[in-house]
C-alpha cells in the first residue's frame, strides 16, 4: 500500500497514457473497451480478460455496463460519460440494492435461471448482516464479500467462494479476524473449532457435500444464529432419528423448562467431535454427569446402557478379529463380513436410540446386535475349523504322495539294478 502511495503520481501518469492509448485503438474494435483499459491497469482498478470471461454474468451476456453503466462499445471518454449513464464504482452501501435489482426480479431472472430463488435481498434484510447494514454499518458482509466481484462463479462451481467446500473459509475471512470483529461482541474461534469438528472432517476431508458448513445451520442470505428453540430443528434436518428419539424423551421437557438449547448441550456447536460411548461414562468426555448426581436412578440407567453398548462393541470386535485370522488363513468369509456389518448397524442403531434415554429400547437394539455378532463369531470359528480340517487332509495327502514317490524310487532302483543299462 505504501509503495502504491509513493508511486501514485507515476502510476496516475501511466494510467492516463493507457487510457489515452485505449481511446484511439479500442474504438476501432467496437467490443468491450472497458477491458482494453482495465485489463492493463493495476489493482484495484484492474479487471482482466480471464476474470471477465470466467464471470457467470459475462457468460450469460451481461457486460460491465450492466452494473457500472456507460457504453463499452465506445472509446473513452464517451464510454465513461454521464450521458452514457456511467455510474463508476458502486458505493458499498448501494451493492445489495444493485444486485437485488436483478436478483429480486423473478421475471428478469426467469430468462437466465428459472429455478434460481429471488428472495436473497429480502432474506438478507432479515439477517444479522442485513439488519446492521440497514443501520448504516457498512463493515458487515454484503453480496460481494461472499460471492466475489469480477470473476464471480456459480455457487455449484468448486472454485466459487460460496461452494459448500469453501463457505467456512469465506465466512472465516471476517469471523475469525479478531480485529475486524472487534465491537461486535461475538467470539472469533468458530472457524478454528469447526476445523476440528466431525462435520469439517466429513465435508472437507471426505468431500461429503451433504455434511454441514456454516450456512447449513445459520442460513446464507438470512444468516443468523439459530435460537434456543430452533437448534433441535436445525440438527434434525440431517439427524432425523436422533431427533425423533429426543422428541419423546424426558430430556426434551427438562431442557425446555431449563431454557437449554437441545442437542448442543451435550454435543457442542461449532466444534462437534465424533461422539463416542465415553460420553455416557464418567470420564473427561462424559456429558451426563454434568447435570446428574452420581448414584441417582438416571446415573444407574446411564451405567447400564453404557455396559450394554460396550458389550455389543466387544462382541463385534471379537468376531471381527476372528474373521481376520480366518481371512489371513485364506478362508472365504465374505458372507460373515456382511453379517458383521449388520451387527455394526445394530450398534449404530442402539447409539441413536440412546437419545430416547430409555434403557428397554436400547436393550432391544443391543440384543439384536448380539445375536448377529454371535452368528458372525460362529462363522469365524467354523472357518478356522474348516482350515484345520483342510490342513489335516493336506497332511494325509502329502504322506500318501511321499510314500508313492519313495515307492517309485525304490522300484526304479530295483528295475535298474536287475536290468543292464542300454
Amino acid at each position: 500500500m505504501d509503495t502504491w502511495r509513493n508511486n501514485r503520481h507515476r502510476r496516475a501518469l501511466f494510467q492516463l497514457l493507457v487510457v489515452s492509448a485505449c481511446s484511439s485503438t479500442a474504438f476501432a474494435q467496437a467490443q468491450n473497451t472497458c477491458l482494453d483499459c482495465h485489463g492493463a491497469l493495476d489493482p484495484p482498478l484492474q479487471v482482466t480478460e480471464q476474470q471477465f470471461t470466467s464471470d457467470i454474468h459475462s457468460q450469460k451476456g451481461l457486460t460491465c455496463a450492466s452494473c457500472h453503466g456507460g457504453d463499452p462499445t465506445k472509446a473513452d471518454p464517451d464510454a465513461m460519460s454521464k450521458t452514457a449513464g456511467f455510474r463508476g464504482k458502486i458505493e458499498r452501501s448501494q451493492i445489495p440494492a444493485l444486485c437485488g435489482s436483478c436478483h429480486s426480479d423473478a421475471a428478469f431472472m426467469r430468462k437466465y435461471n428459472p429455478s434460481l430463488r429471488t428472495d436473497q435481498l429480502s432474506q438478507y434484510k432479515t439477517s444479522v448482516h442485513g439488519k446492521l447494514f440497514a443501520k448504516g454499518d457498512t463493515k458487515v458482509a454484503v453480496c460481494i464479500d461472499c460471492h466475489g466481484v469480477h470473476g464471480l462463479r456459480a455457487a455449484s462451481d468448486t472454485r466459487s467462494k460460496v461452494h459448500p467446500l469453501n463457505v467456512a473459509q469465506t465466512c472465516s475471512r471476517c469471523h475469525a479476524d479478531a480485529s475486524y470483529m472487534k465491537g461486535y461482541s461475538i467470539r472469533t474461534d468458530q472457524f478454528a473449532q469447526y476445523s476440528g469438528s466431525v462435520h469439517h472432517d466429513a465435508l472437507v476431508v471426505r468431500s461429503d457435500l451433504s455434511a454441514p458448513t456454516c450456512t447449513t445451520c445459520h442460513g446464507n442470505h438470512g444468516a443468523a444464529p439459530p435460537g434456543v428453540d430452533s437448534v433441535q430443528n436445525v440438527c434434525s434436518k440431517c439427524h432425523v432419528f436422533q431427533d425423533q428419539m429426543f422428541e419423546k424423551s424426558s430430556h426434551k421437557v427438562a431442557f425446555q423448562s431449563a431454557g437449554l438449547p437441545g442437542c448442543v448441550v451435550c454435543h457442542g456447536n461449532h466444534g462437534i467431535s465424533h461422539p463416542t460411548d465415553a460420553k455416557l461414562g464418567t470420564g473427561p468426555q462424559a456429558t451426563c454427569m454434568q447435570c446428574h448426581t452420581p448414584g441417582d436412578s438416571c446415573d444407574q440407567a446411564r451405567a447400564e446402557m453404557l455396559t450394554s453398548l460396550t458389550r455389543l462393541d466387544g462382541a463385534i470386535n471379537n468376531a471381527h478379529n476372528l474373521l481376520g485370522v480366518a481371512e489371513s488363513s485364506g478362508m472365504e468369509v465374505s458372507q460373515a463380513r456382511l453379517d458383521e456389518d449388520q451387527a455394526r448397524d445394530a450398534l449404530t442403531k442402539a447409539r441413536v436410540t440412546i437419545h430416547s434415554f430409555r434403557k428397554e429400547l436400547v436393550d432391544h437394539d443391543i440384543q439384536e446386535g448380539l445375536q448377529i455378532a454371535s452368528k458372525t463369531l460362529q462363522a469365524g470359528q467354523n472357518a478356522l475349523a474348516e482350515r484345520d480340517y483342510r490342513r489335516k487332509g493336506l497332511g494325509l495327502a502329502l504322506v500318501f504322495i511321499l510314500m508313492s514317490v519313495v515307492g517309485l524310487f525304490l522300484y526304479i532302483r530295483q528295475l535298474e539294478r536287475d536290468a543292464p543299462k542300454v
Binding site: 485364506g330 472365504e332 483342510r390 490342513r391 493336506l394 495327502a397 504322495i401 522300484y411 528295475l415
Partner: protein, 359 residues
C-alpha cells in the same frame, strides 16, 4: 480277462507296431538330465487344469451379474470347490513358471538347434497360448483387481499401431470392459485356447518323440569322442517312472499351496467405482507392465508406450525365430543367443521384482 482284451486289441491294431518304438526309445543320461522333466511337469499341470477347469464349468456362470457370485458359491458351498478352484489357479501359475523355466533351459542347453527348430517354435507358441490362458482366465472371477487389470491390459493392446483399437474393441466386445468382455474371455478360455493348445501340444509332443531328447553340445562332443561314454536309459519304463515321480512331487507342491494359501477371490468388480490403488497384472506380465510404465511419454517422435509395445512385439517374434540365428558353424550367432538369453532372463527377473517393490 485282461489277456483276452489285449489279444482282441492286438488282432485289430497291431499293438506291437505302436508300442515297439516306445520300447526301443531311449533317453540320454547326463548331469543335466533333470532339466528334461520341466516339459513333462508343464504338461502335467496343463492336464490338471483341463480336469479342474471342467469341474469348475459345472458351477461357473459367465456374466457380469453372476460370475463373481458363482465363484464365491464354488468356494464356500460346493464340496471341495475351494480345492478345485485353488488348484486350478495355482496350477495355472505354476504352469507358466515351469513353461518359462523349460524355455530358458532349452535356450541355455541349446536344445533348440537343428533339427529341433520347429519343436522350439511350437513350444514358443504354446507359451504365448499359456499367457493368453492366464490373461483370459484372470478376468473370469469378475473381481475388482482382475477387472481393472484387464482394463489396463486391453488399453495397452489398444496402443498397438494401426490395428490396436480394432483389436481392443474385439477383445472387449465394445469400447469398455463390460459383461460382454467377460463372455468373450470365457469363450477364449474354455473353447478357442484349449482347442489350439491341444493341437499344438500334440504337435510339440510328436516332434519331441520324433527327434528324441537333445543332448547338450558339450556332452555330445564328449560322447562323439568316446562312444563308451554315452549313456542312455529306456524311455519306458525307466524315464516314464521318473517322470511320474516328478509329477507326484509337483502334485504335492500344488496341493500344499492350494490348502495353505487358497487362491483369493477379492471383492466383486464395480465398473463405476474408481480404480483402486495397486492395480497390477499377473506376475508373468509384470516385467512388460513395469517397463511400459517406465518408458518416457515420448521417445523421439513416437508415443513411449507404442515404442515399448513395438519393442516387445519384435523381441518376442525374433525370440521365436531364435534357432535360425544359431546355425552350425556360426560361433558368433551362438554367443549372441547365449548373451540375449542371459539379458532376457535378468531383465524379466529384475523388472518383475521392481514391479512388485515399486509403489
Amino acid at each position: 480277462m485282461f489277456a483276452r482284451l489285449q489279444d482282441w486289441l492286438a488282432d485289430r491294431f497291431h499293438w506291437a507296431d505302436i508300442i515297439g518304438p516306445l520300447k526301443k526309445k531311449t533317453v540320454p543320461i547326463h548331469k543335466l538330465s533333470y532339466w528334461y522333466f520341466l516339459g513333462g511337469i508343464t504338461l502335467f499341470l496343463f492336464l490338471i487344469q483341463v480336469g479342474t477347469g471342467i469341474l469348475l464349468l459345472l458351477y461357473y456362470r459367465p456374466g457380469a451379474n453372476e460370475a463373481f457370485e458363482s465363484v464365491q458359491y464354488i468356494m464356500t458351498r460346493v464340496q471341495f470347490g475351494w480345492l478345485v478352484r485353488s488348484i486350478h489357479s495355482w496350477a495355472a501359475n505354476l504352469m507358466i513358471f515351469t513353461a518359462f523355466a523349460h524355455m530358458f533351459s532349452v535356450v541355455f542347453l541349446r536344445a533348440y538347434r537343428k533339427p529341433r527348430e520347429l519343436t522350439w517354435v511350437s513350444g514358443m507358441l504354446l507359451l504365448f497360448l499359456a499367457m493368453g490362458f492366464g490373461f483370459s482366465g484372470y478376468l473370469l472371477p469378475w473381481n475388482t483387481l482382475a477387472f481393472f487389470a484387464t482394463k489396463v491390459g486391453t488399453e495397452i493392446v489398444g496402443q498397438v499401431p494401426v490395428i490396436g483399437h480394432s483389436l481392443m474393441v474385439f477383445l472387449r466386445g465394445g469400447e469398455d470392459v463390460t459383461g460382454a468382455t467377460l463372455t468373450r474371455f470365457f469363450g477364449f478360455h474354455v473353447a478357442v485356447l484349449p482347442g489350439l493348445t491341444t493341437l499344438l501340444v500334440l504337435i510339440h509332443l510328436a516332434l519331441v518323440q520324433y527327434f528324441g531328447m537333445s543332448v547338450p553340445p558339450g556332452v555330445e562332443s564328449r560322447w562323439t569322442a568316446s562312444l563308451e561314454a554315452a549313456r542312455q536309459m529306456k524311455f519306458f519304463p525307466n524315464f516314464v517312472l521318473r517322470e511320474f515321480m516328478a509329477w507326484y512331487i509337483a502334485l504335492g507342491v500344488l496341493g500344499a499351496l492350494a490348502a495353505i494359501l487358497p487362491w483369493e477371490l477379492g471383492t466383486k468388480a464395480d465398473p463405476f467405482a474408481p480404480a483402486p490403488a495397486g492395480i497390477r497384472p499377473e506376475w508373468y506380465f509384470m516385467f512388460m507392465f513395469q517397463t511400459l510404465k517406465k518408458i518416457p511419454a515420448k521417445v523421439w517422435f513416437m508415443d513411449g508406450e507404442v515404442v515399448g509395445i513395438l519393442v516387445f512385439g519384435v523381441a518376442g517374434f525374433l525370440w521365436m525365430l531364435l534357432p535360425f540365428f544359431d546355425q552350425a558353424g556360426h560361433g558368433r550367432g551362438r554367443k549372441l543367443i547365449m548373451g540375449a538369453g542371459v539379458v532376457a532372463l535378468s531383465f524379466i527377473i529384475a523388472m518383475t521384482i521392481y514391479g512388485y517393490m515399486a509403489k
